[in-house]
């Protein structure tokens, strides 16, 4: 049963009773929250996701709630918690849905050490995974959103999960997080996107999320073989330049972009090395999304 088959009232009821359980890629996530806006966020962006039954194993028990009764009404705030642990300081109440996305990123990045977790967007076409590692502001999510709007399968806009067992990339297709100018850039790029409400004045500025395609969600447990490793950099008015990068340098850059390279130790080095062996490596400068999408379509052909 998909979340979209539930009414708003039913979603709010499930959230209130700690029984909203969603299958997100290979993870089962339970979310509880008394905040109605969270239900709206989920219905808008997670409609294609399966609701899992009460007996299913849950990877992450999460909740979004006010830190105290006072903070529900006076300068209202929200806390994200995982198994009762509160990893972040509270945020303004209006940022609850964005906090869910950030909190879930934290859960996955910190508790999924059967994967090498790379801070990278990843999309797939013709059975080839294109991995875009990048620091905030590099334009990886914008590029990822443009490719996802152009028929590429979304595996993740934020975290590439590389299995240490088989070297394949496992999806966790969730809403694509966009910030500030990228919101308008993607709205102008495609008229077919569904975007959730934009949350303003967060620590990252204005933040909005694009709904992943139903196909990407349906293929949420189907891994992809890594093929290209591309380090993007958005540079205003730049040409579209794809520059080959030596594999050794690519390895160091990937290691810097991993959440758990040091935790995995020698296994992390082996996983990164195998990824580098399997991938063509590039640096990529761009300012025009249309040109970028055309170039990658050609590369995946």
């Amino acid at each position: 049963m998909k979340l979209a088959t539930l009414s708003r009232k039913e979603v709010i009821h499930s959230l209130n009773r700690k029984r909203l359980r969603l299958k997100i890629g290979g993870f089962n996530v339970c979310l509880s929250s008394p905040i109605p806006e969270v239900a709206d966020h989920l219905l808008c962006l997670y409609g294609a996701f399966e609701v899992v039954d009460d007996e299913a194993f849950i990877d992450f028990y999460t909740s979004l709630a006010s830190p105290s009764k006072v903070r529900r009404y006076f300068r209202a705030q929200v806390n994200f918690s995982f198994d009762g642990y509160v990893p972040f300081k509270p945020l303004p109440y209006k940022q609850a849905s964005a906090m869910f996305e950030w909190g879930l990123n934290w859960c996955i990045a910190n508790h999924s050490h059967h994967y090498l977790v790379i801070h990278a967007a990843v999309v797939e076409r013709n059975s080839q995974a294109f991995i875009f590692p990048g620091t905030p502001g590099s334009g990886k999510s914008t590029l990822c959103a443009a490719l996802a709007c152009s028929g590429w399968r979304l595996l993740s806009d934020e975290m590439t999960l590389l299995s240490v067992a088989d070297g394949l990339v496992y999806p966790v297709p969730r809403p694509i997080s966009l910030k500030n100018r990228s919101l308008d850039v993607i709205r102008n790029f495609s008229s077919n996107i569904i975007m959730g409400p934009v949350v303003k004045d967060t620590a990252k500025g204005a933040v909005g999320h694009v709904r992943p395609s139903d196909e990407s969600v349906d293929l949420g447990e189907v891994p992809a073989k890594p093929a290209k490793l591309i380090f993007p950099k958005y540079l205003e008015n730049s040409n579209t330049d794809l520059i080959p990068l030596s594999k050794s340098r690519a390895l160091l850059k990937i290691a810097e972009n991993c959440f758990n390279y040091n935790i995995l130790g020698v296994q992390g080095f082996k996983s990164v090395s195998d990824l580098i062996d399997a991938s063509d490596c590039y640096e990529f400068n761009y300012s025009c999304l249309e040109e970028a999408v055309a170039l990658f379509a050609e590369l995946a052909h």
Partner: protein, 99 residues
């Protein structure tokens, strides 16, 4: 300085090397550090990752791979390189005992 030395990877299996073209990436399991090694350094590790080598063998390999400028003191350069890698725990320098 290292005339009678044999150079090899540390006996405890703490070093992992991967080679691409003329570069090498080395992972030191003890320190958790990852090193990029290029040029002559990569040639040294290519050789010793197969089998420990004497300083003379390393010099022969370098002479066969690189065109060295006249007057360049390769022996001094090689010794310094080896000592730097030794400090980082990436290789061991052993005395070449007579058979």
């Amino acid at each position: 300085m290292l005339e009678n030395s044999v150079i090899g990877l540390p006996k405890a299996a703490v070093i992992r090397c991967r080679f691409w073209d003329d570069e090498c990436v080395i992972y030191n399991q003890f320190t958790g550090e990852t090193h990029l090694v290029e040029g002559m350094g990569a040639e040294i590790f290519k050789l010793i990752s197969e089998k420990s080598a004497t300083r003379t063998q390393l010099l022969q390999t370098i002479h066969s791979v690189f065109e060295l400028e006249t007057g360049f003191d390769i022996e001094d350069f090689l010794d310094n390189l080896i000592l730097q890698y030794q400090k980082l725990g990436l290789l061991d320098v052993m005395e070449n005992s007579p058979a």
